[in-house]
């Protein structure tokens, strides 16, 4: 019988091969896909987030853990669909118009996916109208990143575009990135500010629930 503790450890250590084989054997052993996801994979990523927040893990450790998680999810996803397991919510994530930085955005996307969210990765240099389209396409959360002071105003432009489209009450807006602060989130009317990928998971989870 597959021990979910082994699965958790393989993700925490970023061991992609071991993660995929443990997910396969857990399914072969008849474990519920939802149980594998929640008690194995999401629990592992929660631990990874904790270690990051405590300074024990850095971005590389999070990246390889998220990569292992994604490898496992690739096998698990069709089974989750078959079993009717729903994601926590859908997050449309992107780096705002004019900004080409993507490592932070990609890491947040991977961590959110690892926490059980469905991800619509809009990429970098994303204009406000694409975020609006994403809400129309089913995203409940807009997650925006900016690494330059010169591109931060496009976060405000996106919030305004969402308002103008009449979709503000249908979406939660979370922002982050090096120059971004809680004060800026308040100023532009975002729902939350996340200083790092782990915090992004925490605040998104709390806003969605």
């Amino acid at each position: 019988m597959t021990d979910l503790e082994d699965l958790r450890q393989s993700i925490i250590e970023g061991d992609m091969k071991s993660t995929t084989s443990l997910v396969e054997s857990a399914l072969a052993d008849g474990l519920e896909p939802g149980t594998i996801l929640n008690d194995g994979m999401i629990a592992a990523m929660t631990e990874v987030g904790r270690r990051f927040e405590e300074g024990e893990y850095f971005v590389p450790e999070m990246l390889i853990a998220a990569r292992a998680m994604q490898a496992g999810l690739k096998i698990l996803k069709p089974k989750l669909v078959d079993s009717g397991t729903k994601p926590l919510g859908t997050v449309a994530i992107g780096t705002v118009k004019g900004d080409l930085h993507d490592i932070g955005k990609s890491l947040v996307a991977m961590m959110l996916e690892g926490a059980g969210f469905e991800i619509m990765d809009l990429g970098v240099d994303v204009p406000p109208e694409k975020f609006v389209e994403a809400i129309r396409g089913g995203a409940q959360v807009i997650a925006m990143s900016a690494l330059l002071t010169t591109t931060m105003p496009n976060m405000k432009a996106t919030v305004e575009a969402v308002k103008q489209a009449g979709l503000r009450d249908q979406s939660v807006i979370v922002i982050g990135g090096a120059p971004v602060t809680q004060a800026y989130a308040n100023e532009i009317g975002a729902d939350a500010y996340a200083p790092d990928a782990s915090a992004a998971v925490r605040v998104t989870r709390s806003l969605i629930s």
Binding site: G14, Y57, F58, V59, P60, L100, I103, S106, A178, P179
Partner: protein, 393 residues
């Protein structure tokens, strides 16, 4: 705080800080002045006019490259006018760089092709009025690095040109350069240069999946930089920048720094010292978990000490306590919040904070934490004025 009696020239003042002697007052300068800022806020003023206008301690940036005809090298005939922070590229018949502007993009988009006898490499660079970035990375297959190793040219320093600049600049301030970067787009540090040739996430993954390949790449880049550094003998530079982006603790871990950054850049620093040169190690982003690792490489100075308010993590007082007696610290000032949209009193208070936390016993040069695009000239005036009041004698 007392009014400083100026007894040193800008050059003497900054050299005192770099060399661990006590300056007359807090040296105050800035990092690269971005053309966007100078055009938008200073009516297109030159760098040197900027330093004079605000009575700041000046730098002059120069990185003149020289080719070696005895090795079949010649100046890249395809390179146009030398742009901001660019240097003259060195070609051979086996390493030719061609470029073409690609139409139909929102941003200026240029494809560069590096033609060698065994194949062609290419990368795409985009730019806007603020900055430039890689839109398509050069390393597409692992063995692409073989072409770099075999054919990539290494520039040498044009010592005479540097010394002419140093002579002309005199006591106005420091002559600053940087260790050569990859042709067309790169960074001075070996790891940081590699992160311009492939996506940094993929480089990080490669440190886990194929560390020997990463070392192979870093050795190729280091070899080229070493040739440049060995050519610096006799050049009257005051300081060179090494490091760059993508090696902060907001991107990599101390473990990766120890294994893939420090071994290569430490050797470059030692070689620079042998060539009679000083090094400042530049880190954009988080530094606190890396402070000792950076200082252990032996640089003369470290920068940028970016504070938490700008998305990094530096506690200036703690940094001073941990490494302040080993290296000169440059930076620490929060330009996002105190060079724009604040009262001059706030700017002055931020200057005093920096001086109080990092200024004790010298070995500190006040500077914004890296470059900036937007800043209010009146606040820059307050920044410089308050710094000039921070006296040591």
């Amino acid at each position: 705080m007392t009014i400083a009696t100026t007894t040193m020239t800008s050059k003497q003042r900054m050299l005192a800080a770099l060399d661990g002697r006590l300056p007359d007052r807090l040296p105050v300068t800035t990092h690269h002045l971005m053309p966007y800022f100078l055009d938008k806020y200073m009516n297109g003023m030159s760098d040197q006019a900027f330093f004079d206008y605000f009575d700041m301690d000046a730098y002059v940036w120069t990185v003149p490259h020289r080719h070696d005809p005895s090795q079949g090298e010649y100046p890249d005939p395809e390179q146009g006018e030398i742009g901001f922070l660019e240097s003259r590229r060195v070609s051979t018949d086996d390493w030719r760089v061609y470029w073409e502007e690609l139409p139909g993009y929102e941003y200026q988009t240029v494809r560069y092709r590096f033609v060698t006898p065994k194949g062609t490499l290419s990368m795409v660079i985009q730019s806007n009025e603020h900055t430039a970035w890689v839109a398509e990375y050069l390393i597409k297959n692992k063995r692409d690095i073989d072409l770099l190793g075999e054919y990539m040219t290494a520039p040498k320093c044009d010592v005479e040109a540097v010394n002419r600049t140093a002579e002309e600049f005199g006591e106005r301030g420091l002559v600053r350069g940087h260790i050569c970067c990859f042709d067309v787009f790169g960074q001075p540090g070996c790891w940081q240069d590699a992160a311009c040739l492939m996506k940094v996430e993929d480089l990080i993954f490669a440190t886990y999946d194929d560390p020997e390949w990463v070392h192979e790449l870093l050795k190729i880049l280091q070899r080229r930089k070493m040739i440049y550094i060995q050519s610096l003998q006799g050049a009257r530079f005051d300081i060179h920048e090494l490091g760059g982006g993508s090696a902060s603790s907001t991107v990599i871990s101390p473990k990766i720094f120890e294994k893939f950054v420090a071994p290569y850049d430490k050797e470059l620093i030692a070689a620079a010292h042998q060539a009679g040169q000083r090094i400042t190690y530049h880190t954009c982003g988080g530094m606190m978990p890396l402070l000792e690792l950076i200082a252990d490489m032996g640089p003369d100075a470290m920068e940028t000490f970016t504070p938490p308010g700008m998305g990094a993590d530096v506690n200036l007082a703690e940094a001073k306590r941990r490494i302040g007696d080993r290296v000169c610290m440059i930076g620490g000032f929060d330009q996002f919040h105190y060079l724009i949209d604040c009262a001059p009193e706030d700017t002055r208070a931020e200057v005093r904070r920096c001086f109080e936390e990092a200024g004790a016993n010298g070995r500190y040069i006040l500077s914004p934490s890296d470059h900036f695009f937007d800043a209010d000239p009146e606040l820059i005036r307050a920044f410089a004025d308050e710094a000039r009041k921070c006296a040591y004698r």
